[in-house]
């Protein structure tokens, strides 16, 4: 413990006297030993002075005492060195001034010598001890920085949470001389946390309790804090980007030893580093998952697209060829022939429709879908859609009702027409022949609403939202052809246009679908001076 070591410092050498094995942790309580050492040092100086006295001047003896003060100051700090300075002055006075062995001083000039000696001794003790403290602080700081640095380096190298825990445990334990434990959140709801490296069962329940409190409040707990100050360990939350990722617990190896402010602060730094590494790891995992999902999506899309293509082309030919048999000359007069050909056409058409729906669903769900949005009056789109599905609505009475003024929507015409035709076809599918299907539009507040209503069997009781789910079919599923994608496509299309679609049971009978589109600013003026000059007309 008393070994004195010379430490090299940048470019010059300086006496930095410190214990080699103290690890920077001050002992609890101060002992009286340093003060004893002051007196011993003074005694040694006095004996040396006594031995040298015959050969040197009295003033030079003062220097011997001052060396003693310097050594004590460097070794034991301020208090003992002040004691040493005072004791040296007293000893000099007692042993070396006339009359000897008395505190009286005969020569008034020597009063000044003793006074200066006391003053110089005090100054030396002050300066040396201040220097010593600064040195110690610098060394401790450098050591903590070194630990943090190597911790950061190891964390940067870590590729998963286990490595992160391992690196943190090793460095932190070495730096503060304590055991380090981690708690991480579980996937299940209860308990929220488990101790890393342990099953749920061997962990102490109060530990888990404190750790959970720390996790949820994102505040420290345990010794030296306000929450559970009686606990022997300190618990710090691992927080990154405002999310708690776990809890770190630091427990002394021997009970009763406390952490200094610097050490607590150091633990805080370590916790932040660990949390940062965990967050980075989490983001890397998330990025990987997203990449995988994107790849899967792409694969699914290309598979569906190529299958649909290889199905669609031949189906077109089958449908065309079959319908050409219906119209072509030279067909046999046998009615069974007609029935069969009609069946063939109907089935081919149905199959084409299914393939088209799958293709549409694939397209509108993919993240890469590109819309060609332009301004159209709702009326134009609705009438175009009604015109397109005229064939399959031939058994129903379609009643479009449009406001007198033009309502403009900013949509991809072809995609939006698909929405309207799907809604109309759906209405026709689930209502009796001869019943009415109405399609109306209006502007309500800051939304444009398009309503398609039918007089059909209505929605089943319960969740009206279910009809928009993929492959959902109505209760008459066997009587009605289709695979249950039409309305899912509608929802996807409306979502692409930042709108909303809902289904309602009508109080009388049937169903009402409401498409709500936000009003987009910049609609063309309904009225305007678009008249061209010249060209006069009749009248």
């Amino acid at each position: 413990m008393t070994a004195v070591r010379l430490r090299p410092r940048r470019g010059y050498r300086w006496l930095a006297l410190r214990p080699t094995a103290q690890q920077g942790i001050p002992k609890a309580g101060t002992t009286l030993r340093p003060y004893g050492a002051s007196f011993i040092a003074t005694a040694i100086c006095s004996m040396t002075g006594w031995a040298l006295a015959p050969w040197i001047a009295l003033d030079s003896l003062v220097m011997v005492y001052l060396v003693g003060v310097v050594v004590v100051a460097a070794r034991y700090g301020r208090g003992p060195s002040i004691v040493a300075a005072v004791a040296s002055a007293v000893a000099f006075d007692f042993f070396f001034t006339l009359p000897f062995f008395s505190l009286r001083i005969a020569d008034p000039r020597l009063v000044i010598t003793v006074g200066v000696m006391l003053f110089v001794g005090l100054v030396i003790s002050e300066l040396t001890s201040a220097l010593r403290e600064r040195d110690r602080a610098a060394v401790d700081h450098a050591r903590r920085v070194r630990v943090l640095y190597s911790l950061t380096r190891d964390l940067a190298r870590a590729t998963d949470d286990a490595h992160i825990y391992q690196a943190a445990r090793r460095h932190v334990a070495r730096a503060v001389g304590r055991d380090v434990f981690f708690f991480r959140p579980t996937e299940s709801a209860s308990p929220d946390l488990i101790e890393v490296g342990h099953g749920h069962l061997d962990s102490d329940s109060t530990r888990i309790e404190i750790a959970e409190w720390v996790f949820h409040h994102r505040r420290r707990a345990g010794t030296g804090t306000t929450h559970h100050p009686d606990a022997e360990a300190i618990y710090l939350p691992l927080v990154a980007a405002d999310r708690a990722l776990g809890v770190i617990m630091v427990r002394p190896r021997s009970p009763g030893s406390r952490l200094t402010v610097q050490q607590t602060r150091f633990l805080g730094h370590c916790a932040r580093q660990v949390a940062g590494a965990m967050e980075r790891e989490r983001l890397v995992r998330a990025a990987h998952a997203a990449e995988r999902a994107a790849e899967e999506e792409q694969l699914r899309n290309s598979l569906l697209a190529s299958v649909s293509h290889d199905l669609r082309q031949p189906l077109m030919v089958i449908e065309g060829a079959a319908s050409s048999l219906l119209d072509g000359p030279g067909a046999p007069a046998n009615p069974i022939y007609w029935e069969r050909v009609q069946l063939l056409v109907a089935e081919a058409r149905q199959m084409s429709d299914t393939v088209n729906k799958i293709l549409d669903m694939t397209r509108f769900e993919s993240t890469a879908v590109q819309l060609d949005r332009r301004w159209y009056p709702v009326e134009t789109l609705v009438l175009g859609a009604v015109n397109r599905v005229r064939g399959c609505l031939s058994e129903h009475v379609v009643i479009p009702a449009m406001p007198n003024e033009l309502l403009w929507v900013y949509v991809d015409a072809l995609v939006f027409e698909k929405l309207l035709t799907n809604l109309l076809e759906n209405a026709a599918k689930y209502s009796e022949a001869g019943s009415h299907i109405s399609i109306s539009a209006g502007c309500f507040g800051n939304a444009i609403e398009i309503r398609v209503t039918d007089e059909g069997c209505g929605l089943p009781p319960g969740d009206t939202d279910a009809v928009f789910r993929k492959f959902h079919r109505g209760k008459h599923r066997n009587a009605v052809p289709g695979i249950g994608l039409g309305l899912s496509i509608c929802r996807a299309i409306v979502a692409l246009h930042e709108g909303d679609i809902t289904a309602h049971r009508r109080p009388t009978a049937g169903t009402e679908f409401v498409v709500k589109l936000p009003v987009v600013p910049g609609a063309p003026a309904a009225q305007g001076d678009f008249e061209v000059a010249g060209a006069s007309c009749s009248g």
Binding site: Q313, P314, L315, M316, V317, E319, G320, A321, S323, S324, L326, D327, G328, P329, G330, S352, N356, L359, R363, D372, R374, W375, Y376, P377, E379, T380, L381, L383, G384, A385, V386, N387, R388, V398, I399, P400, A401, M402, L406, W408, D412, A413, L414, E417, P524, A526, G528, F530, E531, V532, A533, G534, A535, S536, C537, S538, G539
Partner: protein, 240 residues
């Protein structure tokens, strides 16, 4: 195969050129057309198509726009440089841009695959009739469809004998549609023929004026029978 059963088609049957890369679709078109009084020529690529069009001078051309060597639109443009032969675009259901590009390049109309043979034949015959009428020296003085009658010389529009008053723009729009009666006219073409060139950003004019026209001419504007919307492409004046 039809060829083996059928005798060589008479030389006075109209000659149709089919430019299409899918052999199945070509076979179907050939079979339908030959059975209904047409002769056919076939090309797989746009390059071959142009060559055959130049050498054989067909009366009618079908162009599939998804050709392997690229551009059916290019073929349309090249043929239009020297011929006014009716050209129909054949295209998939979702190929809106293709169709519009083909129509703007000079195609007369489009057919969406899969097509109904009945409709196909009706459209081809109508186009050939129009072509024949165009070749006659006297220009058509009037146009009639259903109860709608347009006297192009006296600038008179009547519905069931009732005179309808149109603004100059409405009338001009109607005349453009009459000139292409039965065929789809793209928004772009309507815009440039009615309002003049350089108005590409004002497509909504066409929507507005078509709505006005519908309200004046259609017996029930909510169930139009004359002025039909081809969503995303343009408008069509029914000629039936």
């Amino acid at each position: 195969m039809p060829q083996t059963r059928q005798a060589v088609p008479p030389q006075d049957w109209p000659l149709l050129l089919v430019v299409e890369d899918d052999p199945r679709m070509r076979g179907l078109l050939r079979s339908v057309l030959r059975a209904n009084g047409f002769r056919t020529l076939e090309a797989e690529t746009s390059k071959d198509g142009i060559e055959i069009a130049v050498n054989a001078l067909p009366h009618f051309i079908f162009v599939d726009l998804g050709l392997p060597d690229g551009d059916g639109v290019d073929l349309i443009r090249r043929v239009r440089e020297w011929s006014s032969v009716p050209i129909f675009v054949l295209s998939g259901r979702d190929r809106l841009h293709e169709k519009v590009a083909g129509l703007n390049a000079g195609a007369d109309d489009y057919l969406t695959k899969p097509f109904v043979p009945d409709e196909l034949l009706a459209r081809v015959r109508a186009a050939l009739r129009r072509m024949a009428a165009r070749d006659r020296p006297v220009a058509t003085a009037s146009f009639e469809t259903g109860d709608l009658r347009i006297d192009l010389i006296r600038r008179l529009v009547t519905v069931r004998g009732q005179r309808i008053y149109l603004t100059p723009t409405e009338y001009r729009l109607l005349v453009v549609l009459v000139q292409h009666a039965g065929c789809v006219v793209t928004h772009e073409r309507l815009l440039s023929e009615v309002w003049g060139p350089g108005k590409a950003d004002f497509i909504h004019y066409t929507h507005i004026y078509m709505t006005y026209l519908r309200r004046k001419l259609e017996p029930d504007p909510m169930n139009p029978v004359y002025l039909l919307t081809e969503t995303g492409i343009g408008y069509r004046l029914s000629s039936r």
